[in-house]
């Protein structure tokens, strides 16, 4: 959803109501903060405990459902989500590149024209300094120089606009950063789940040949699992290698 006059009007309305309210209750200072705090404090402790145990049950149930759900998640949601995110990055970076190249394409002819005109003026004024210009040529040179300087600010403003366009195009970095971060997170989770699946399905005859430390599967939070978790790419590599992949 893009910004719109309706949203601006909505902001205005809430802003006006809030300030109207503040004016009418001058006694209660810092009421905005107090309100939000009160809202947070309204949630009673038993509610948190109930929510916590509910979450624990949900987590356990999901684990009991088995790893086939992981595949379903990986194939059904995580990978398409990652693809969508990467596609967004591809689109945004392409747009940024186009904006920058368009701006430099616009700057180049202006730069070339300014350079040529300045070079010409330098030659003319050199001839003037040497006394080689006729009175008519001198008058023409003064007139041309005046026009050049009168036009210079608008030409430089145009250059400035294109430079700003280049600066603004760099916002792609901010827009893609979070998306890429999420895509990396999803990819790591999928890898982790797939390795767990692999470990779970190792045939008994192969199991004996594998380093026992590698059989625990990677986890998202290695601290909680201690030394038994596969925590880095080297260990995942070692496991895959030991399984003959």
């Amino acid at each position: 959803m893009q910004d719109s006059p309706e949203l601006e009007a909505l902001f205005d309305q809430v802003y006006a109501e809030l300030h109207q309210h503040n004016r009418s209750s001058e006694q209660s200072s810092g009421n905005i903060h107090d309100l939000s705090c009160e809202q947070n404090e309204c949630i009673p402790e038993p509610y948190y405990s109930q929510l916590g145990s509910l979450l624990r049950r949900l987590h356990s149930t999901l684990q009991e459902l088995g790893y086939d759900r992981s595949i379903e998640y990986a194939v059904g949601d995580a990978l398409p989500d990652t693809v969508e995110r990467l596609d967004f990055v591809r689109k945004v970076t392409a747009e940024a590149a186009t904006k920058v190249l368009d701006a430099t394409d616009s700057i180049k002819p202006i730069h070339q024209r300014l350079r040529a005109e300045m070079q010409q003026f330098a030659q003319q004024w050199q001839r003037c300094a040497q006394g080689s210009l006729s009175l008519e040529e001198f008058k023409q040179l003064v007139n041309d120089t005046l026009i050049f300087f009168q036009n210079a600010p608008s030409t430089l403003d145009l250059l400035q606009q294109h430079l700003t366009q280049i600066v603004m195009a760099q916002d792609f970095q901010d827009r893609t950063n979070q998306v890429l971060g999420r895509a990396i997170e999803i990819t790591k989770t999928v890898e982790s789940e797939l390795v767990k699946l692999l470990v779970n399905g190792i045939p008994p005859d192969r199991k004996a040949t594998i380093n026992n430390d590698l059989l625990q599967g990677p986890v998202v939070n290695p601290d909680r699992e201690g030394d038994r978790a596969l925590i880095n790419q080297a260990q995942v590599d070692a496991l895959l290698e030991s399984l003959g992949f």
Binding site: M1, Q2, D3, S4, L7, E8, L10, F11, V14, Y15, L18, H19, S29, G30, I32, H33, S36, Q160, T164, V167, M168, Q170, D171, Q173, D174, R175, N177, Q178
Partner: protein
Amino acid sequence: MPINAPPTTTFLVVDDSPTMRRIVRNVLQDNGFENIVEADDGTTAIEMLKAKKVDVVITDWNMPTMTGLELLKVIRSFPQWSALPVLMVTSEARKENIIAAAQAGATGYIVKPFTPETLVEKLNKVFERISVTTGA
């Protein structure tokens, strides 16, 4: 269209993205403002506000550890900053975001990605609202 504020106005730009801070600084400098300080998170922003006189805060919404909305609430909890203009930068124009920002005491909002013209326009709206509210 110029920004309707004295050239000595001090801006505090809060964003965890150095690129975005540079972009906002660039637009402000293009408009003749040189007094610009930057913070990469909410905690640093509060320290800066305590250490230096700031006239306007421009803060991103999505930041780790302390969001822009949380920063805004902290700012408003200090009586001396109750009227400090704060422009919130949101990544999407969702109604609930706009309402939450206004209710928490934001003076204006801007949606990313924005153009330099929109930033100028939104800042002018902030200065308009402040002059109406304070009667300045």
